[in-house]
């Protein structure tokens, strides 16, 4: 970590994000959520409240779920981060948690979804055989305004079963070849609402 002193002090932050080493020079007060979204252009991590309440910004820090709006980028120097972009297999096959949110209609607008998916990955790594009450409690730190949660809870339940069957670690990128559920369809693709990156031609 190198520090440039002065009024426009910038600090170099090096992290591993979804298995890829990344580095950027940022002001010391740069939030981790802004670092991911603006400096690294990983906009799958959403910001809903900037207060640590809604959970939309949840990512994994060394495998444990944290709220990226409550951390400074500099505080995670040298650590390993996983965001929602790092879960699906390289061939696009969905991670079992992502597939379950699709199957169980666990999303409507989808703004809360990355946060729920990351919370679920952290939760299912800790609690491999959750009962319904444990799932409800485990997901109660994230807000969803659209679904009423039933589809989300059903998705986490489905994912728990799928992960148990495959023995995969929910915190790591999906590896379809050694997964019993490689055959689960990844859903239909369509251009609605702008699949793909956020860059607008100017």
């Amino acid at each position: 970590m190198s520090v440039t002193a002065g009024a426009h002090e910038r600090i170099e932050v090096e992290v591993t994000v979804n298995g890829v080493p990344r580095a950027a020079e940022v002001p010391p007060r740069r939030l981790l959520s802004d670092f991911l979204r603006h400096d690294l252009r990983l906009t799958g991590t959403h910001v809903g409240c900037e207060h640590g309440v809604c959970g939309a910004c949840t990512i994994l820090l060394d495998g444990a779920p944290i709220r990226s709006c409550l951390a400074f980028a500099v505080s995670v120097h040298g650590r390993e981060l996983t965001t929602v972009e790092g879960l699906a297999a390289d061939d696009g096959t969905l991670h079992p948690v992502q597939a379950a949110f699709q199957d169980q209609h666990g999303l409507q607008c989808g703004y809360c979804t990355p946060g729920f998916v990351m919370s679920a990955c952290g939760f299912l790594a800790e609690t491999t055989e959750p009962d319904d009450d444990e799932i409800r409690e485990g997901m109660s730190g994230n807000l969803c305004r659209c679904t009423g949660y039933a589809g989300i809870l059903a998705a986490v339940k489905q994912a728990a079963g799928d992960l148990r069957a495959s023995g995969a670690d929910p915190r790591s990128q999906h590896q379809p070849e050694d997964d019993a559920f490689a055959g689960r369809p990844g859903g239909e693709h369509g251009p609605a609402g702008g699949d793909g990156g956020g860059e607008v031609p100017s």
Binding site: R37, R41, L42, T43, H46, V47, G48, E50, H51, V53, C54, A56, V84, E85, L87, L94, Q98, F101, D103, H105, L107, Q108, C109, G110, Y111, C112, T113, P114, V117, D133, R136, E137, M139, N142, L143, R145, C146, T147, G148, Y149, A150, G151, I152, G186, G187, E188, H189, G190, P191, A192, G193, G194, D195, G196, G197, G198, E199, V200, P201, S202
Partner: protein, 751 residues
């Protein structure tokens, strides 16, 4: 009861199937681009200066320091608005920037564009405004007669409905006063947009909104540009629920882009979002219900005052609904309903899911329970005895010509057994299902249980003579593999409800083409109307159907069927016919015309109605005032469930918002100032607050509706709230005339 929805052969993912969302994969992988995710090379960041005072006169605004800050590209105030200085959904009474008078806390005064969002924030702080603070007008009743706080006056609309014999009285009458607090839509993705100047002097705006074309028209007017020079494209929307029907940052961000000649992005914080959009109208309600001794309603009298806040927004439509549906889904031969929507210095209010119907449903359902008690009658029986049915007349004089399964929704809600709630019931100490959760606050021995029922209804689509048509284009061609491909273009805003899925289902069912692509919604096609009033399935679903039928007709003609034979299209060799080239059709869909209400509130003002009933089971600790909603059963009139999984999702999500209004959610105002603009202090339900929901879909196809389907988004939010409060009343014996019910209303109530 649920009937199997017919599916055409060869349409695996057609109507009636729980087809998955086409945007599901990008949404679960994080690649779906919400408006907040957009970037453009060289873009600036916009930020708004807002008034800290609910009412003030502005003596002067000094932007000179902000303008000189390095990295600040532009600072704009009212004098920089080249076109119409005001905007508004129905009445253009809201200034783009306050220049002389501030009418609510958070009203925009100026905007800044800078190289970085934090720099924009500092520039906003450097603008000096000299305010002369004025005492705010915050009482809606008082506003009716108070000195006007706006040149257009303080009354947005006064509607006095009179129906039948106003002197009629019943052997039994009950009277009550009720109050509804201000609810926020609290969508999860705050307002955001990206504006890019175009070479012809126009502007391109990527925006999350419920209605592209009405935004376009308001933006163009304020910019002083012809509408065709303002082009809007829908970007990903993080929920809406009514809060994106009005313009928020659209004009500001376009002004900045045109002034600087660079792309400008604006993104509200959560706090700014609370100040930056309209809310659900708070209401004060007074009712007197008259009935004969066997429980038949004789007359309903009501007075409704809605606080519309500082600007009109959709207040006129909201009070229209409140008055029309004030008596609930019951046969009421005589009615006298006096409704007001007024201007105050509180935050502006407009559309929120179920608008108008939500507020009055809390009143009429409390009254029905009160009437049942006065008659010593079962409240379910009282509702069944008065339930509206097809052919009945509403208090507006309109006869219901479509379906009205009021009896069926009530019976369905009552028939559903609550699932076994827990092994021990009430639950064991220290478990999450106790009121207050697992915090060892309530104990099992203190818990009392109550059950409540409520029934509600609302109009679908716009009313009172409004022609809210929708347009869709469907193009069918062979793709590079020689397979048929249909592409749908429609400006309907996908806000999470699933219109994109439905559009694909319609094409598959009508044309038998499996592969359906969707073009982004934008203003290069005609308006689709608003994603509100439960109208897109009917209106834009209908437009997509009409365009598909036109394509089918063209295919049939190519096949040599004279005069077209759309029904035969599924048997045609589409691949062969498309070798001649693509077929492209655009069609507009209008609903049957309605008429304005006359001066007595009479007229055939509505197209169609949807009904729902909710039964709530709650556990209450009366000493601590803590409530736990344990189960909701609902029967809902859906016409026909075109995507059952999506319908259930709307029902569960709508009930969550109804639960929020019942026991949690309120924007707390003190002298016009918002006390809780954050998710720390404005509480919305979590997974632990939501009980299991059991739903029965009543499928009676609605005549005249595309595929027989009714909109399903709003009814779940209407009667879930009063059902929960009725259950709390049943558990505690308290009157609870105000929502949200807070712990102190129970724990500190006079015995």
């Amino acid at each position: 009861m649920s009937t199997g929805t017919e599916v055409r052969p060869g349409t695996r993912s057609g109507l009636g199937q729980s087809v998955r969302r086409p945007d599901g994969t990008p949404k679960v992988t994080g690649t779906f681009a919400f408006s907040s995710d957009l970037f453009a090379r060289g873009m600036l960041w916009g930020r708004t200066l807002r008034s800290p005072h609910p009412a003030a006169r502005i003596r002067s605004i000094d932007t000179s320091i902000a303008e000189r800050m390095p990295g600040v590209a532009s600072v704009l105030t009212a004098r920089d608005v080249p076109g119409r200085p005001t905007y508004g959904l129905e009445h253009a009474d809201q200034p783009v920037f306050a220049s002389e008078t501030v009418r609510f806390q958070g009203e925009p005064i100026a905007v800044v564009a800078a190289e970085h969002p934090e720099l924009a924030l500092r520039a906003v702080a450097a603008i000096e405004v000299d305010y002369e603070v004025v005492t705010p007008l915050t009482d809606a009743e008082a506003a009716i007669g108070a000195a006007p706080i706006h040149p257009d006056g303080n009354v947005f609309r006064h509607l006095h409905l009179r129906h039948g014999d106003l002197d009629a009285v019943g052997a039994v009458s009950v009277e009550g006063s009720y109050e509804v607090g201000m609810q926020d839509q609290a969508f999860l993705g705050p307002e955001s947009g990206l504006a890019i100047p175009v070479d012809d002097g126009g502007v391109e705006l990527f925006i999350s909104t419920q209605w592209l074309h009405v935004d376009r028209d308001q933006v163009a007017a304020c910019l002083g540009l012809p509408p065709e020079r303002v082009h809007l494209t829908l970007s990903g929307i993080g929920g809406a629920f009514g809060a994106r029907e009005d313009v928020s940052l659209q004009v500001h961000v376009c002004l900045l882009a045109l002034r600087t000649g660079r792309p400008v992005k604006m993104l509200y914080s959560r706090e700014e979002s609370f100040h930056g959009h309209v809310h659900r109208h708070p209401a004060r309600l007074w009712y007197r219900h008259h009935a004969d001794p066997d429980g038949r309603l004789v007359k309903v009298e009501a007075r409704i005052v809605l606080d519309g806040g500082a600007y009109a927004s959709s207040s006129t439509a909201v009070i229209g609904n409140a008055v029309c549906f004030a008596a609930g889904p019951y046969r009421v031969p005589n009615a006298d309903v006096d409704g007001w929507a007024v201007r105050t210095n509180n935050p502006p209010c407009g559309a929120m899911r179920g608008f108008g119907a939500v507020q009055v449903c809390f009143g009429h359902e409390a009254q029905m329970d009160r009437l049942a008690a006065a008659l010593a009658m079962d409240p379910v029986e009282l509702r069944l005895r008065n339930a509206l049915a097809p052919g009945d007349e509403l208090p507006t004089g309109q006869v219901i010509t479509g379906t009205a399964p009021v009896r069926e929704v009530i019976e369905a809600a009552m028939a559903l057994e609550p699932p076994p709630l827990a092994a021990t019931d009430p639950p064991a100490d220290g478990t999450m299902d106790l009121p207050g959760g697992a915090g060892l606050t309530a104990t099992r021995a203190d818990v009392v249980r109550g059950t409540g029922l409520a029934v509600g209804f609302k109009n679908l689509m716009y009313s009172e003579g409004f022609d809210d048509a929708s347009t869709a284009n469907v193009r069918v061609e062979l793709d590079h593999r020689g397979e048929p491909l249909a592409t749908v273009h429609c400006a309907a805003a996908e806000v999470g409800q699933g219109f994109v899925t439905l559009a694909q289902q319609i094409v598959r069912s009508v044309l038998g083409v499996e592969q359906v692509a969707l073009r982004p919604a934008d203003t290069t096609i005609g308006s689709a109307g608003s994603t509100s009033a439960s109208r897109q399935t009917w209106m834009s679903g209908g437009a997509v159907e009409l365009a598909c039928l036109a394509v089918a007709e063209a295919l049939a003609e190519r096949a040599g069927y004279g005069g077209g034979a759309p029904d035969e299209v599924l048997d045609l060799d589409v691949v062969e016919l498309l070798r001649e080239g693509p077929i492209d059709r655009t069609r507009a869909h209008h609903h049957p015309p309605t008429e304005p209400l006359d001066e007595d509130g009479q007229g055939d003002a509505h197209v169609s109605f949807a009904f729902a009933a909710h039964r709530a089971v709650v556990d209450v600790d009366p000493e601590l005032g803590l409530v736990k909603v344990r189960h909701i059963a609902t029967g809902q009139d859906v016409g026909r469930a075109l995507n059952p999984q999506a319908v259930i999702g709307q029902i569960e999500g709508g009930i969550a918002q109804g639960l929020g209004l019942a026991v949690m959610e309120e924007m707390l105002l003190e002298d016009g100032r918002l006390r809780n603009p954050s998710f720390t202090d404005y509480l919305i339900p979590t997974a632990l607050d939501m009980p299991p929901v059991t739903a029965t879909l009543i499928e009676q196809p609605e005549p005249g509706a595309p595929f027989g389907a009714k909109g399903v988004g709003e009814p779940p939010t209407i009667s879930s709230t009063p059902a929960i409060v009725a259950a709390i009343r049943a558990a505690t014996g308290l009157e609870l005339p105000r929502i949200p019910v807070r712990p102190e209303h129970i724990a500190l109530a006079e015995a």
